[in-house]
C-alpha cells in the first residue's frame, strides 16, 4: 500500500432551497474551480495536474438517466480518467482513496452536486424502492424512516423530547455555519408542536427539502499532499456496508450495516474507543431519530442508548464529542452531496478553519454517509490532521 491518502482541498456552495438562477453546471463549476484554486492544480497532461475525476450524483435529480454524460466536462472529465458514484458522496471519498492507494493515480478531484429542486424528492425516492412490490404499496424513503423511527423509539423507549433535542442542537449549530440553509432559533416545544409528517416523525424532525448545492474535494497521495499543502488532513480509515433492501429482513431498531461499516473503518484506523478518540463527528441524519440511532451504530454509545447520549450533553458543542457542529442534514443538505460535505466539514475542522463552528484543537474526526431506505447503505470515513 502506497502511504496514506491526504485531503488537500475542500469547497462547498451555500446550501439553499432553490437555486433558480443557477444551472447545475454552475454549482459544479464553482466548487471545482475553488478546490483547484486552493491547490494550484490544473488539468495538465504532463503529470503535474489532476490525474482523475470522480463525481457523485443522482442522475434522476438532474433529469435524464445519464445526465452526467453531458455535465462531466465541467469537472474536467474530458480525455481523462473519470469514474462515477451514483449513491452517497461519502462513497466517492472511499473510492477516490482506493484509487490513490492502488498506486494508479496520485490526485483525484471529487465533486458531488444535486438540485433537489428539479423534481420531487419523494418521487425519486419512491423510484428507489423495489419496483414490483414496494412501489405498489407506495413505500418511499420517508415512509421507511417512519417505520424505522417507530420501531427504534418503541424498542428502546426513546422519547419524542430526545429526538426533538437533536433538531434544536442542529439549528443552534447551523447558526454558526455560513453555508447552512436554516438556523431557526427553535425549541423542543416548537419541534413537538410541528405537523406530524410520518408518525412519529414531525416536519421539523425531517431534513428540509428541496435543497440545492455542491461540494468538491481533492485527494492526493501522501507525497503529493505534502507538496500541495502544509495542512493536509489524512484519511485514516474507511468502511461501507449494504444492508437488505427489504425492511422486514432487518430489525430497523438496530443499524447493523452501520455497525459493520464503522468497525471496518475503525479497524483500519486502529480505533477502539470512538467516543474518546474523536473530537467531532459529522453524520448524515435525514431525520432526528437517526442521529441517535447512527450514534449507536458508530459506537458512540451502546444499543438503545442514543437518547441518553443526547441527554448527557456530550454531543453538544463543548461536549466530549460534538455531533454535527455544522448543523448536519437537518439544517439543510441535498441527498448525495451530504456525505461528501460531511467529510469536507471534518476537514475544515481538522485544519482549524471552521470559524464560529470550530471545535477547538480538533485532531480526529469521523464522517458518515447514508443512502437507501432506513439507512440501507452506510459509509464511514475517519480522518486526522
Amino acid at each position: 500500500m502506497a502511504g496514506r491518502v491526504g485531503v488537500v482541498a475542500v469547497a462547498q456552495t451555500k446550501f439553499e432551497e432553490k437555486k433558480a438562477t443557477e444551472h447545475t453546471a454552475e454549482l459544479m463549476y464553482n466548487v471545482t474551480r475553488e478546490v483547484m484554486g486552493q491547490t494550484g492544480l490544473e488539468f495538465k497532461e504532463d503529470g503535474t495536474g489532476i490525474d482523475a475525476t470522480l463525481a457523485a450524483s443522482y442522475d434522476l435529480f438532474s433529469g435524464p438517466a445519464g445526465a452526467y454524460m453531458f455535465l462531466g466536462y465541467v469537472v474536467g472529465a474530458y480525455r481523462r480518467e473519470d469514474e462515477r458514484v451514483l449513491e452517497d458522496g461519502s462513497l466517492a471519498v472511499y473510492y477516490g482513496a482506493m484509487q490513490i492507494l492502488s498506486g494508479h493515480v496520485d490526485t483525484v478531484l471529487l465533486v458531488s452536486y444535486n438540485k433537489e429542486s428539479s423534481v420531487g424528492k419523494n418521487l425519486i425516492e419512491w423510484v428507489g424502492m423495489d419496483q414490483i412490490y414496494q412501489r405498489r404499496i407506495g413505500l418511499d424513503f420517508v415512509s421507511a424512516a417512519g417505520l424505522q423511527a417507530m420501531r427504534y423509539t418503541t424498542k428502546y423507549g426513546i422519547t419524542p423530547e430526545q429526538c426533538a433535542k437533536v433538531v434544536v442542537k442542529s439549528h443552534r449549530n447551523a447558526a454558526n455555519n455560513p453555508y447552512a440553509m436554516c438556523c431557526d432559533n427553535i425549541t423542543v416545544e416548537d419541534v413537538l408542536r410541528s405537523t406530524m409528517l410520518c408518525d412519529p416523525i414531525r416536519v421539523q424532525e425531517a431534513k428540509p427539502t428541496p435543497v440545492d448545492g455542491a461540494c468538491a474535494i481533492i485527494l492526493a497521495s501522501e507525497e503529493k499532499a505534502r507538496k500541495i499543502t502544509d495542512k493536509p488532513v489524512w484519511i485514516t480509515g474507511f468502511g461501507s456496508c449494504y444492508d437488505h433492501h427489504e425492511l422486514g429482513y432487518r430489525d430497523l431498531a438496530d443499524c447493523e450495516a452501520l455497525t459493520t461499516a464503522a468497525q471496518r473503518a475503525y479497524k483500519m484506523a486502529g480505533i477502539t474507543n470512538p467516543l474518546k478518540t474523536f473530537d467531532l463527528a459529522e453524520i448524515s441524519e435525514q431525520y432526528a431519530y437517526q442521529e441517535l440511532l447512527w450514534s449507536e451504530g458508530l459506537g458512540f454509545c451502546g444499543k438503545g442508548e442514543g437518547g441518553k447520549l443526547i441527554d448527557s450533553g456530550k454531543t453538544q458543542m463543548g461536549g466530549d464529542l460534538p455531533i454535527n457542529p455544522s448543523g448536519g442534514m437537518l439544517s439543510g443538505l441535498p441527498v448525495c452531496v451530504a456525505g461528501m460535505q460531511r467529510v469536507a466539514e471534518c476537514v475544515v475542522q481538522l485544519r482549524g478553519e471552521a470559524g464560529d463552528r470550530q471545535v477547538p484543537g480538533a485532531k480526529k474526526a469521523v464522517a458518515h454517509g447514508v443512502d437507501g431506505p432506513a439507512g440501507q447503505l452506510q459509509c464511514v470515513i475517519t480522518l486526522e490532521n
Partner: protein
C-alpha cells in the same frame, strides 16, 4: 409426465407496465442568455478565451481548456451542412414526449460564427443533401418560441 404436471411447472410469466410521469423543472442559469436569444430569433454561442471555439449548447467552461467562457458571440442565421441522416425509426418529440416519425433528416450545421449545432433539415430527400451546402434557419412564429432548441423549426437549403 402427464400434461397436468407439466402445466404446474410452467407458471404464466407476467410483466407489469408502469407508465409514470416525472415532472422536472430545470434551471437554465447562465444558459438563459442563449434561450432568450432564441426567443428573439437569434443564435448565440459561448466562446473560449483560449482557443476561440464557440460552443452550442453554451458551455460554462471550454471542454478542451477548462476556462470559464464569458464571451457570447452571435452566430448569424446561416451555416453549412456537416452531416445528415434520415431517421427511419420513431423518435421522441421533446414537446409532447410522444414517439413520432420524422420526415426531416437530423443534421449537424457549422454556423457562420463557427459554432456547431444540431437541427432538422427542410429538405426531406436525403439524396439532395450535400456536405458543405448552405442552409438558413427557419424559425417558429415568435409567439410560439419558448427559448428551446426546436424554436428553430428546421434549416432550409439556400441557393448559392
Amino acid at each position: 409426465m402427464t400434461a397436468e404436471q407439466k402445466k404446474e411447472e410452467q407458471p404464466e410469466f407476467i410483466q407489469f407496465r408502469y407508465p409514470r410521469e416525472v415532472p422536472y423543472e430545470h434551471a437554465l442559469g447562465y444558459q438563459s442568455k442563449f434561450a432568450n436569444a432564441l426567443k428573439q430569433g437569434r443564435i448565440i454561442a459561448t466562446k473560449c478565451p483560449v482557443c476561440g471555439r464557440c460552443t452550442i449548447p453554451p458551455r460554462i467552461v471550454c471542454p478542451f481548456h477548462h476556462v470559464k467562457q464569458t464571451e457570447w458571440v452571435d452566430q448569424g442565421q446561416r451555416g453549412r451542412l456537416i452531416s445528415a441522416f434520415k431517421i427511419n425509426f420513431p423518435m421522441f418529440n421533446s414537446r409532447t414526449g410522444e414517439l413520432q416519425n420524422w420526415e426531416n433528416p437530423i443534421i449537424a450545421v457549422e454556423l457562420e460564427g463557427g459554432a456547431r449545432m444540431d437541427g432538422w433539415c427542410a429538405e426531406t430527400d436525403p439524396s439532395k443533401l450535400k456536405t458543405g451546402m448552405l442552409l438558413e434557419a427557419v424559425w417558429r412564429p415568435e409567439e410560439e418560441r419558448q427559448g428551446r432548441a426546436d424554436d428553430i423549426l428546421h434549416w432550409k437549403p439556400v441557393e448559392e
